[in-house]
């Protein structure tokens, strides 16, 4: 609102100054030079301040309520599976379990839908205590290579995962190397629940950031295998899991989209999830969660904004009442 106000006022001055330009311009200049431009001098009168705080309160509390309502309207099922998916015999040493390729990693989880969930329903995986924002990590990528592939040679920014056996890696860098590779299949009743895994990444990323003709090369070929592998026959622009993964998170706890369920789920439905628990979070005590959530105009379920709005609004009202009281008791 303030932005609009600013622009209109600047426009209006321009409009006003055109007809009698020279005279007004001169007057303006001389006023400027004499530091006597007409000025509005607001005073912090009690009336103003109390009114502003009151107004703030009365605007913010309703917005907070609406926001909170929207957030509460979002239904989500969160299932932490990293601990439970470790077989009993490995409970004492989870790291050896995850590193042992001979142990089957499949795991089954049963999720219960409490309330009716309306499509589209989003599937996220959530990682906690995972520092995608670590400096070594965020820097270790090459945007140019992602777009141009092998044509772009300078991959020094991808250290320490820039080449293997003397050949460059596409996509290079730690981020791509540590690609999340747990997979989920959902059974609803008897049939498999159709999960749409297309169009989960940003369109701009698919079109302009990741090359349509850049194919994975020499990826995960080294002695040290990080995360998931990529199908070398699919160009990077279509590897949506990679694209999603490479949008690094600013927080050590984050969700990334896995797919979309495009049918409604009824209350008390039971969903069976078969998952491959491949990704190693055990060595650093990270948690893995599967999240199934609907969405609102505000996004996912997040009470923070609503609560904060109500808090700020009510504080403003209280403050204005305090000021009012002070003013009545002790008028200046």
């Amino acid at each position: 609102m303030d932005v609009d106000g600013g622009s209109t006022s600047s426009d209006s001055t321009r409009v006003r100054s055109i007809p009698i330009r020279s005279g007004q311009c001169k007057a303006f200049l001389s006023q400027f030079k004499q530091q006597s431009l007409p000025a509005c001098k607001p005073v912090l009168t009690p009336a103003w301040v109390i009114a502003i705080h009151l107004l703030l309160g009365f605007v913010f509390i309703p917005i907070g309520l609406v926001t909170l309502h929207a957030s509460r309207g979002v239904l989500e099922i969160v299932d932490r599976y990293d601990a439970d998916c470790v077989p009993e015999e490995f409970k004492g040493n989870k790291v050896s379990y995850i590193k042992d390729t001979s142990v089957p990693k499949n795991c089954t989880r049963i999720l219960k839908v409490h309330k009716y969930m309306k499509a589209p329903i989003y599937i996220y995986y959530q990682l906690d205590n995972y520092y995608q924002n670590h400096r070594r990590y965020v820097k270790s990528r090459s945007d140019q290579q992602l777009l141009h592939g092998l044509k772009y040679n300078d991959t020094s920014s991808c250290k320490p995962e820039e080449s293997n056996n003397g050949l460059p890696i596409v996509p290079c860098g730690l981020i791509a190397w540590s690609l999340f590779n747990d997979t989920y299949t959902f059974i609803h009743g008897t049939a498999e629940l159709r999960v749409n895994r297309k169009n989960i990444a940003w369109k701009s990323d698919r079109d302009h950031k990741f090359g349509k003709h850049v194919y994975p090369f020499n990826f995960q070929n080294g002695t040290l295998i990080g995360g998931g592998k990529l199908d070398p026959n699919i160009p990077l622009g279509d590897q949506e899991d990679l694209i999603v993964w490479m949008r690094t998170s600013a927080l050590p706890s984050f969700r990334k989209i896995y797919g979309r369920i495009e049918e409604d789920l009824e209350a008390d439905d039971v969903i069976v999830v078969h998952l491959m628990n491949n990704y190693n979070t055990y060595s650093f005590g990270g948690k893995k969660k599967l999240v199934i959530s609907t969405s609102s105009w505000l996004g996912g379920r997040n009470d923070f904004l609503g609560v904060a709005y109500i808090f700020v609004g009510s504080s403003a009202v209280i403050l204005s009442l305090v000021f009012l009281l002070l003013h009545v008791k002790n008028p200046r």
Binding site: D2, V3, G5, G6, S7, S9, S10, F32, K33, Q34, Q35, L37, A39, C40, K41, V43, L44, P46, V49, L56, F60, I63, Q126, Y131, Q132, N133, H134, R135, R136, Y137, V138, D143, S157, L174, W177, S178, W202, S204, G226, T248, A250, L251, P252, S253, F254, R255, S283, F284, W297, L298, G299, G300, N302, L305, A308, V312, L319, F323, L326, R332
Partner: protein, 1106 residues
Amino acid sequence: MKRFVYINDDESPTQEIYCDNRISNRKYTLLNFLPKNLWEQFSRFMNQYFLLIACLQLWSLITPVNPASTWGPLIFIFAVSASKEAWDDYNRYLSDKKANDKEVWVVRQGIKKHLQAQDIHVGNIVWLRENDEVPCDLVLIGTSDPQGLCYLETAALDGETDLKTRAIPSACMGIDSDLLHKIKGVIECPNPDKDIRRFDANLRLFPPFIDNDVCPLTIKNTILQSCYLRNTEWVCGVAVYTGNETKLGMSRGIPEPKLTAMDAMIDKLTGAIFVFQIVVVIVLGIAGNVWKDTEARKHWYVLYPNEGPWYELLVIPLRFELLCSIMIPISIKVSLDLMKGLYAKFIDWDAEMIDHETGCPSHATNTAISEDLGQVEYILTDKTGTLTENKMVFRRCCINGIFYGNESGNALKDARLLNAVASGSPDVIQFLTVMAICNTVIPVQSKTGAILYKAQSQDEDALVQAAAKLHMVFVSKSGNILEIRYNASVLHYEVLEILEFTSERKRMSVVVRDCQNRKIILLSKGADEAILPYTAAGQQTRTFSEAVEQYAQMGLRTLCLAWRELKEDEYHEWSLMFREASSTLVDREWRIAEVCQRLEHDLEALGITAIEDRLQDGVPETIETLRKAGINFWMLTGDKQNTAIQIALSCNFISPEPKGQLLLIDGKTEDEVSRSLERVLLTMSITTSEPKDVAFVVDGWALEILLKHYRKAFTDLAILSRTAICCRVTPSQKAQLVELLKSCDYRTLAVGDGGNDVRMIQQADIGVGISGREGLQAARAADYSIGKFRFLKRLILVHGRYSYNRTAFLSQYSFYKSLLICFIQIFFSFISGVSGTSLFNSVSLMAYNVFYTSIPVLVSVLDKDLSEETVMQHPQILFYCQAGRLLNPSTFAGWFGRSLFHAIVVFIISINAYAYEKSEMEEVAMVALSGCIWLQAFVVTLETNSFTILQHLAIWGNLIAFYVINWIVSAIPSSGMYTIMFRLCGQPSYWITVFLIVAAGMGPILALKYFRYTYRPSKINTLQQAERLGGPILSLGNIEPQPRSLEKEVSPLSITQPKNRSSVYEPLLSDSPNARRSFGSGTPFDFFQSQSRLSSSSYSRNCKDN
């Protein structure tokens, strides 16, 4: 140490030894510009710091952002400074070129040629015509005038606008003008120096030009570079000093840059921030290394190698150093320079500071020290021409014991005197003759027939004018013959010698021959103590002393006139000695004085003239207002004690007996002076408890002793006393007094108008020159030049105060915004494994400092907390500036706290509102950045006191510009934040988050500000309320608890600052009931009472310091 100039000798070696006449004021050449300028810029600490940071950023392992984010602004800032220098230098080059290319007539190989001025060599003969500018320093050898005289306007050299006479040396007299360019000879002259009043040289002409004698040359025989030839058809002269070696060229110097108190404070705060930054870096560096060793190795995806390079431990601290480097804002220097430039322009433009008599506007020569004007504590002022108009009017006289003009106050209308003139009383005639001819005045006949006098000294002008009104008219001067018209008769006098005025001799004399009776007479005028002791033994001088005393008490300037008849042979004998003394090269001035002394004795005193020098308009009011503002005044004058005291009384400087008390420090010997000083100190410390206005008076002699032997005690006295009058002081003593006050850590302002004030003006923190009648010398040396003393009030209270307030805001705000973004980065490092990741991308960081936050704050140059009228009515408000209330460690702590609070708000809200699936890094960064920018806009809004259209444009326009710029960047596919801003602006949650940040960030600040403003108002706030709500201004009386809160606020200052200024002014604010009443009624009693409190508190401080 001499130079020999061979006149007109094309083969002589002088041509090679001495430089040609190419003038060069340039600091740089094309080749050395870059290295020299860079070297100068990098000699400043801040720049070295930024360079170090920029270099560290080139190491990609540790740089959190693209090096361009520092190199860009750094290069920009350097480019701005360098181009300013280059532009100045280019302009100097142009003006040099103009002077160098000017064509003049020069004799070469015996033929007059039209050459460029830069080709003149030492020894060349140069011909000039009327109204030509003199291209180099010349010794005259011929003029069109048969008497060998020419007239010169020296305004460009010394600022004096009257015409000066210059004469050809006696050896060149009578040489035919056709022969002049064949002249040969040698001039023996000193090496170039910058003294424009001295030229002690000799001339010897070679045959065939007879006169093989050595002929003495003085400054009278020279015409100096940059003067203009007037009223003379042509002259020719020999070039003796050329190019940059001329007197003018030598006196050009680069003035020492002055540092304001505020700059020093900003430097201090920068230092503190630097220390804070180092601490943060060390703490985070250690934490980062610990986290790396304990946690990061477990996070396999980070792939930390087990063995790092040897510098591994340093990497994380250095990363944090770079991350935190923005704590010290790179933009602050540019912003401050821009603001200061504009302050100076405001002073230049101010229509209310134009002297309407002369149309002369005020001018700020030094653009860097406006804030200091607002922090002035002591004003040292000259008297003549500064407080007074320097427009001398002859008022009274005492001739032979008879007082004229006592009744009417104007001797020219005194019937008795008119009668005496009419009746031809010999005493009076003699008296008038001395008035009319004992001077160096040049009468100029104007076209209308009226006679105009061109005088170097205002006193002489007044005397000649008065004599003319009393029918003794000085009609003309042709060569040595003076023509006087007395009633109907015309008298002629031939001037034989002029014994010039010097400040040591304090008198001047002329020896003239009365052409009527061929008698030789000596006419003298001078200060009473320079004349009366030399009167003939029998003469009674008591009446004269009494007259002097009486006139001085009225504040009139007195001169004593005397004469003596000389015998023919006495004169001839003496004139030989005088001639010899005049041609000495060593100690010439002293020798001449000695010789003059031999003639000036056994004088017959004729009488005393009393000349009034009127006070300038508005002087008493100005002094009163500025003293209310807590500024102490010292008057330093070369005048007599009584005159000085009278002027001081008449301009409110001191108050008369019952209220004021004058303490005299005098004595001729050390002991006397010391005893007198002790007595004064004692009285002073006793009377501080009484409501009395105490001032001390000291004369030059005692001052000399005090400064030499009792410096410590005198310093104590200086601190105690709000007012002092120092009379009979020399220019160097004036400068010493300034130095003394500066050494006590006071901000001093020296104001003067004449050449004798130049040293004081240059010495003081701020030098103000009055562009007055004594020439422009002072105005040129000064930082500010004003037309009249009364403009000082506006200069200090309006311009100085606003500058201080604005700079205080700008500098603290600059730190605030840098700290804000830096704190966010630091907080972010806690959730990014203390690894030194930058939340913001390089473009945003650079633009944040250089554009988004710099432009809105720049328009605070238009901010006015109080209107000019209010400030003028309540000058007390200046205390806030003097005591540094608006920029000190405690206010800075407030801003520091605010940036911390805002950083917490922005950070917490952004990471919580954009959590989980929305936690994409670029998005979170932009949300946080938008939050910062919005907060900036509102902080500036809240801190702005008055909004003009420009402020609205800058604040809200900047906010729009932020989005426009980011949209543009977001539209570039290769940029890191491609599409981010479009995505965000389409999300309702983005706007909701931003408004939450604004409300949560500004709400408490607004509430706090309101609370302070209403319940703990400073005096500024009270006046603001009164001014804007139109309420009664006397409501100032309701702010009793205010000083206490201020004391609390400022108390941390005393820890860091040795000089606890808050305690100085605190008592004054607490006894504001008195001060307040005095606004309305203006009764001096209350005013002085509060003053005395002030001095008592300063005394207590003094004790404390000791």
